[in-house]
């Protein structure tokens, strides 16, 4: 079995499909994209993630050709695409509103792009049928877009944008209009189709769970800048800033001062009268430097007694319990008022829960559980 890991971004020999070279985009006085450089590789499923107004949609529209950079260049396969109009680019886009042509049938919607290329009739029919099969829409081919459901429309939009076999497919919040259950199914479908066709996908989303599920790499954006570009697990486990740690998933942030204690180990003084915490990191911090400690709630253990071998342990009392069915999140209040969240799997029935409101508890985690971030 071939278990080679797909990671062209770690290979210095790999040639990126898309290169943003110091791209800046301004709308009047507003800077949407601020001197941004980024490489995206062939066959990647790349997610642009960020809050609304962070510039992710502008990045996508520049790739599609609807906007041109104010400064810098965008290269596709080594070629500068800035002067190329959208209809001449080997890039197709799936629109957030799907933008299906209401006056054409599903079949004609999918064939629309192929007709513009004057594809021979037989090849065209074959290609449309292939797309219908891929997206399981065979029995809807003769219907009009308003005669099918939202999930089906989403698949038509995907089929239409894939029909021309683009080098790059752009997906603008493709699942935003679907309900949660359908969205989860469709995410796996998207990944499946991406693997089958081998197309490079760039997806724009504000839903971090969606980005984590589908993407090979995620770029977290804020105010026109890239905050971190990495695989989903690295973004989650080793965020490089408080912003990224806070944007992706749930996190406890503790502010303090670091003091080196041997190799890559630091003592963190974080509150008067509280025992210092210990964390390890590869980054070099000077003594007394301000820092943030980011700890995921699921990495914090909760217990009635102080665990004997715990490196980090602090006491507090249960302030609130969020019951999510499979998980419970305990909000534990420390003596100084700080709230720390600890998450546990509900492996036992709720009536046998060990802790309840106002119970004194101990929170503990290992030296490597927390991420130490510079200020």
């Amino acid at each position: 079995m071939n278990t080679e890991v797909f990671a062209p971004w770690d290979d210095p020999q790999a040639k990126p499909l898309i290169q943003f070279q110091n791209v800046t985009k301004r709308f009047g006085a507003f800077t949407a994209i601020d001197n941004l450089s980024l490489d995206i590789y062939e066959r990647e499923f790349f997610a642009l993630l960020g809050p609304s107004g962070c510039g992710k949609t502008t990045m996508m529209r520049m790739l599609a050709g609807f906007e041109t950079p104010t400064d810098g260049h965008i290269l596709l396969g080594g070629q500068d695409i800035d002067p190329i109009p959208p209809n001449k680019r080997a890039v197709n886009m799936m629109f957030q509103s799907y933008a299906l042509f209401p006056h054409l049938s599903i079949w004609d919607n999918i064939a629309f792009g192929l007709r513009r290329d004057n594809m021979p009739k037989r090849d065209l029919e074959e290609r449309v049928e292939e797309m219908l099969r891929l997206t399981r829409l065979e029995q809807f081919a003769r219907r009009k877009p308003h005669q099918i459901s939202g999930g089906q429309r989403q698949r038509v939009a995907l089929a239409r944008s894939l029909a021309k076999a683009p080098k790059l497919l752009l997906l603008d919040e493709p699942l935003g209009a679907l309900d949660k259950k359908l969205r989860q199914d469709t995410q796996f479908e998207l990944m499946d189709i991406q693997e089958k066709t081998g197309t490079t996908f760039v997806i724009v989303t504000h839903d971090q769970e969606e980005a984590m599920t589908v993407a090979s790499r995620v770029a977290v954006m804020d105010q026109g800048k890239l905050m971190q570009v990495a695989t989903p697990d690295r973004i989650y486990e080793t965020p490089n800033s408080v912003y990224v740690a806070d944007f992706i998933g749930d996190v406890n942030i503790i502010e303090g001062r670091a003091t080196a204690q041997g190799d890559e180990n630091y003592r963190i003084d974080w509150a008067e009268g509280q025992p210092p915490l210990t964390a390890s990191t590869a980054t070099q911090l000077s003594d007394g430097q301000g820092c943030h400690l980011a700890i995921r709630p699921e990495k914090v253990a909760i217990s009635a007694e102080r665990p004997t071998d715990a490196i980090n342990a602090i006491q507090g009392k249960v302030h609130d319990i969020a019951y999510l069915g499979n998980l419970s999140t305990y909000h534990v209040e420390l003596p100084d008022g700080t709230i720390i969240k600890a998450q546990t799997a509900n492996t036992r029935r709720i009536s046998r829960r060990s802790f309840t409101w106002e119970d004194p508890v101990w929170l503990s985690w290992t030296a490597t559980a927390a991420v130490l971030l510079e200020n």
Partner: protein, 272 residues
């Protein structure tokens, strides 16, 4: 069905009487045997027969029809183009001024429009005839088309055009293959509006028509000045019939299209 209160019944009757009694009288007297318009002398269709043989009226009708078709087509092309630029052109210099100016002829007194066109045609030495009426009607009906089409374009989802560009259309193809088919109903109703405006225009046509071309409204108006004849009544009745049939057909077509769309959507909801 709920019953109307007596007050509502009375208001409704009064309103409709006000609207339709004149027309009903006109229709009744078009079937009058007598040559005197106000004296009823029994039922007859002879005035319709005479009308068909009246060359002058038939000529005027033919002129009117040609003017209406040409001017409304020209007005639709120009009005749609203007609406497209004003809605889609972005914020170019003077946009507000232009969009205000295109609607100004809507409120301009017709006499002034007619007079200014007359001066223009004399100034450039254009002989008054069918061509000048067509140009004049295009001028004043274009802004109506523009209003109708731009109200549709405002709600038009722009990403449809972007999708067309993205799939390989040139901007011209995108307009022809995507935008135009979708806004077609608005363009057609703009055309119909321009057509009816041209059909019944008297003021502007009388400024811009010449001895070689007379439209039906001008013909009727000048004939009436010599006294109302039953023939005119017959002609007017025919015009009412044409307009009524047109309006009813148009509303039935729209209603059927809407009902079909509703059924389709319900069918789609069931398959989910």
């Amino acid at each position: 069905m709920s019953r109307l209160s007596w007050f509502n019944t009375v208001s409704l009757t009064l309103g409709f009487a006000f609207l339709y009694i004149p027309m009903i009288i006109l229709i009744i007297f078009s079937f009058n045997e007598s040559k005197l318009v106000t004296v009823w002398a029994g039922f007859s269709t002879k005035w319709y027969g005479e009308l068909v043989q009246n060359e002058a009226f038939l000529d005027a009708a033919w002129v009117t029809l040609r003017v209406a078709v040409f001017s409304s087509t020209l007005a639709t092309i120009l009005g749609t183009a203007a609406a497209y630029v004003l809605v889609r052109g972005g914020r170019f210099f003077g946009r507000t001024l232009f969009s205000g100016m295109i609607y100004a002829p809507l409120v301009m007194p017709e006499v002034i429009t007619g007079l200014s066109l007359l001066l223009l045609f004399i100034g450039i030495g254009l002989d008054r005839g069918i061509l000048t009426i067509v140009l004049a009607h295009t001028t004043f009906s274009m802004c109506f088309v523009s209003v109708v089409v731009s109200s549709r374009l405002v709600t038009f989802d722009r990403s449809l055009e972007e999708a067309a560009l993205d799939l390989g259309c040139s901007p011209g193809q995108a307009f022809r293959l995507v935008t135009l088919p979708i806004i077609a109903p608005a363009v057609v109703s703009g055309w119909l509006l321009a057509f009816t405006l041209s059909l019944d225009d008297l003021v502007i046509a009388s400024f811009t028509s010449g001895p070689s071309a007379t439209t039906l409204p001008i013909k009727i108006f000048s004939a009436v000045r010599l006294g109302v004849s039953p023939e005119i009544n017959a002609l007017s009745t025919l015009m009412i019939a044409v307009v009524t049939v047109g309006v009813i057909t148009a509303s039935l077509v729209t209603k059927r299209a809407m009902m079909r769309q509703k059924q389709d959507e319900q069918a789609a909801a069931r398959t989910e």
